[in-house]
């Protein structure tokens, strides 16, 4: 048991920055950080989504009226300028699309915080001021919401469209890296892929319905840069999906977990284990054929484990031109994935969510035991081969010549009872935006979401 009950200030530990207030009075399932703005969306059993500020940790607005049952999941569409687009998934079997102009509250019209290039060149204080003005305006709007003028309609979340198709509860939604495709999954064992036609009329087209899973599909997550989808299921498997010509199909089925797989996440394309020596890092990249194996996947399960999966190195798939017509889907897209490692076991109960930081490479997991666990991957030189003369018959020649390097996961910090006695349903990394941040570097915060409706924001102190 590696629980750190009294983190000495010198040891890495989690420090609470703030709760998001006021909280939902019912169970909250997930909190999605916005890709550009310092805001998050929290899904609640009270059928609403709450939008909170990461600048002052206050509630900005409540999205309600669209779903008839619990909102289970939400995801922000990436690469949208001047507007925020949120997809939600509910136990009412539908997915909803919501829109709101970012410029709302800005005196300068369309110069909202959304215009990425512009805003980053502004000073931090200007940006903060702009955000605060916005928040102030929102609170004023909330105070006299009975007025309900034409202005309010522009300023509020607009329910754009309801995506209807699943037979039962929608459990997860995810936007593809380009924002063109939306994946939804459900207890009905299917995954739907929708194309956002972006025609100004909120039209979505069903691109594919995949039904290979043998149980509820609990989670869908897109590859960080490619149109490749990972899914996790009640059938204990993770599956990988790609499009071949016009058909979406399963390209891999990852077995190993001994219980429902609750969540999957990808690492960033550039991620690498922590290592101070460039040569070792280069050797690792070569060893695992990083270029050809691509980003890895992390998963967590009812079996209390967190696992990392890696694709076997694969030459770029030759698309077409093989001269071999086939009515079957060509096997050229099939991928072989292997379980790279099981992370050090810390959780005593089901692990509900895991988040792989795209900025730092740190992993965080949460679950029914109320713990938050942070893991770090480090590159180590194998003691066996470094310490003694290499036994010729055991080590492969290449490794023996260079001395074997291998990545190793270490538990960086454990926080028990992070939400008191309550189970933690979700964890996410987000860019730090409050006044206490160190502006000289891009700091991150961890956002955890629990059964009692509480959402907490943490920093990792090292």
């Amino acid at each position: 048991m590696a629980a750190v009950d009294h983190p000495a200030s010198s040891l890495p530990h989690l420090q609470l920055l703030s709760d998001l207030t006021p909280p939902s009075l019912e169970r909250t399932w997930l909190t999605a950080p916005h890709p550009r703005l310092p805001i998050v969306a929290t899904c609640s059993s009270d059928k609403t989504v709450r939008v909170y500020s990461l600048t002052n940790f206050r509630l900005l607005s409540t999205i309600s009226g669209g779903h008839k049952r619990s909102v289970r999941t939400a995801a922000w569409k990436p690469h949208v300028q001047g507007e925020s687009v949120l997809a939600t998934g509910s136990f009412d079997a539908t997915a909803g699309i919501w829109r709101r102009w970012d410029s709302y509250g800005q005196t300068t019209g369309d110069e909202g915080w959304g215009l990425g290039q512009e805003i980053t060149t502004k000073s931090e204080s200007q940006q903060e001021q702009a955000q605060e003005t916005d928040i102030l305006r929102q609170q004023q709007a909330a105070d006299n919401d009975s007025d309900g003028g034409a202005d309010d309609e522009d300023e509020e979340w607009r329910f754009a469209v309801l995506l209807d198709g699943h037979d039962s509860e929608v459990k997860s939604v995810s936007w593809s890296p380009s924002g063109m495709l939306l994946a939804t999954c459900s207890r009905d064992k299917s995954i739907w892929i929708w194309e956002d036609l972006d025609d100004g009329d909120n039209n979505f087209e069903t691109v594919a319905v995949m039904q290979e899973h043998e149980g509820d599909v609990k989670c869908v997550a897109w590859h960080p840069v490619e149109e490749c989808l990972a899914s996790a299921s009640y059938d204990d498997t993770i599956r990988i999906w790609r499009e071949d010509l016009d058909d979406w199909g399963q390209v891999a089925c990852l077995r190993g977990h001994e219980g429902t797989v609750w969540f999957v996440d990808w690492e960033s394309v550039e991620n690498a284990p922590v290592c101070s020596e460039e040569t070792l890092l280069a050797q690792w990249k070569e060893d695992v054929k990083r270029e050809l194996s691509g980003p890895r996947i992390v998963s967590c399960s009812d079996d209390r484990t967190v696992r990392v999966w890696r694709r076997q190195p694969k030459e770029q798939a030759a698309t077409g031109g093989t001269g071999m017509p086939s009515i079957l889907r060509p096997t050229g897209l099939d991928e072989t994935w292997e379980e790279e490692t099981v992370l050090p076991k810390v959780h005593d109960l089901a692990v509900y969510a895991v988040a792989w930081s795209k900025r730092t490479g740190l992993l965080a997991s949460v679950g029914a035991d109320g713990r938050i666990v942070i893991y770090e991957e480090r590159l180590v030189v194998d003691d066996a081969s470094a310490g003694e003369s290499q036994p010729m018959d055991t080590d492969p020649p290449a490794a023996a010549a260079k001395g074997a390097v291998r990545p190793e996961w270490a538990v960086l910090a454990v926080l028990p009872g992070a939400h008191g006695i309550y189970e933690i349903n979700h964890v996410a990394w987000a860019k730090r935006a409050d006044r206490g941040r160190d502006v000289s570097r891009e700091e991150e915060v961890l956002v955890t979401t629990a059964d009692d409706g509480s959402v907490k924001v943490w920093t990792v102190k090292r």
Binding site: M1, A3, D5, H6, R27, S45, R69, S70, R72, F91, S168, E169, K171, R187, D216, K218, Y234, T260, D302, D348, L349, A368, D369, G370, P416, G417, I421, Y422, E423, D451, D452
Partner: protein, 199 residues
């Protein structure tokens, strides 16, 4: 509900033979599986807990904090639930029984944790009873509504008593499925009827 019953002639126990509480609930804290007492183990971080660890008189303090909950109380909560098929209680049908109820620390490696897991093993009246999931859900709902939030509820089919026990158990242990079931009007109608007979 099904038009024809799955088990039209179940064995029914005499109400007088069902377990009841013989002694008042204020017996020694040790009988509660050491649970609450364990939470009062010396801890430098929490002086309030420290003071509780000393002697017999701690019982009263614990009682002030929260009524102790033991197996008999769990039995009393679930035995009065009605079977969905018969107007008979789960206790009388021996679907639930006192020896099949246990209360244990949820995180045994963390002595200071207040979490307790209540396990209830269910014995369906017939091995292929498709209502086993509904009965299990009824028991889970009853306990989640009655117990303080520090209690985790674990409802399972007793080993060897049901043909698809693993399937039912996986479903009953899935918090997301249970949460969704609670929002299903038809299902909750059935559950509400089962719970009507509970005080």
């Amino acid at each position: 509900m099904e038009s024809s019953m799955q088990n039209s002639n179940p064995t029914i126990l005499n109400a007088a033979d069902l377990p009841t509480r013989l002694r008042p609930s204020s017996c020694k804290a040790g009988t509660y599986g050491g649970g609450i007492l364990a939470s009062a183990l010396p801890s430098l971080a929490d002086p309030t807990n420290f003071s509780l660890s000393e002697s017999e008189e701690s019982d009263e303090d614990v009682d002030l904090m929260e009524e102790p909950i033991d197996e008999q109380e769990i039995y009393d909560l679930v035995s009065t639930i009605s079977d969905p098929e018969h107007p008979i209680s789960l206790g009388a049908l021996a679907v639930v029984s006192l020896p099949d109820i246990s209360i244990k620390p949820t995180l045994p490696d963390v002595p200071s944790s207040l979490l307790r897991t209540v396990s209830v093993l269910i014995t369906p009246t017939i091995t292929h009873c498709s209502l086993a999931t509904v009965i299990g859900l009824g028991v889970r709902v009853r306990l989640e509504q009655s117990l303080p939030p520090r209690f985790r509820v674990d409802v399972r089919i007793k080993e060897g008593t049901h043909s698809t026990a693993d399937e039912v158990n996986k479903q009953l242990a899935d918090k997301e499925r249970v949460a969704a079931a609670l929002e299903n009007g038809t299902l909750m109608g059935v559950i509400a009827k089962m719970l009507e007979t509970c005080q």
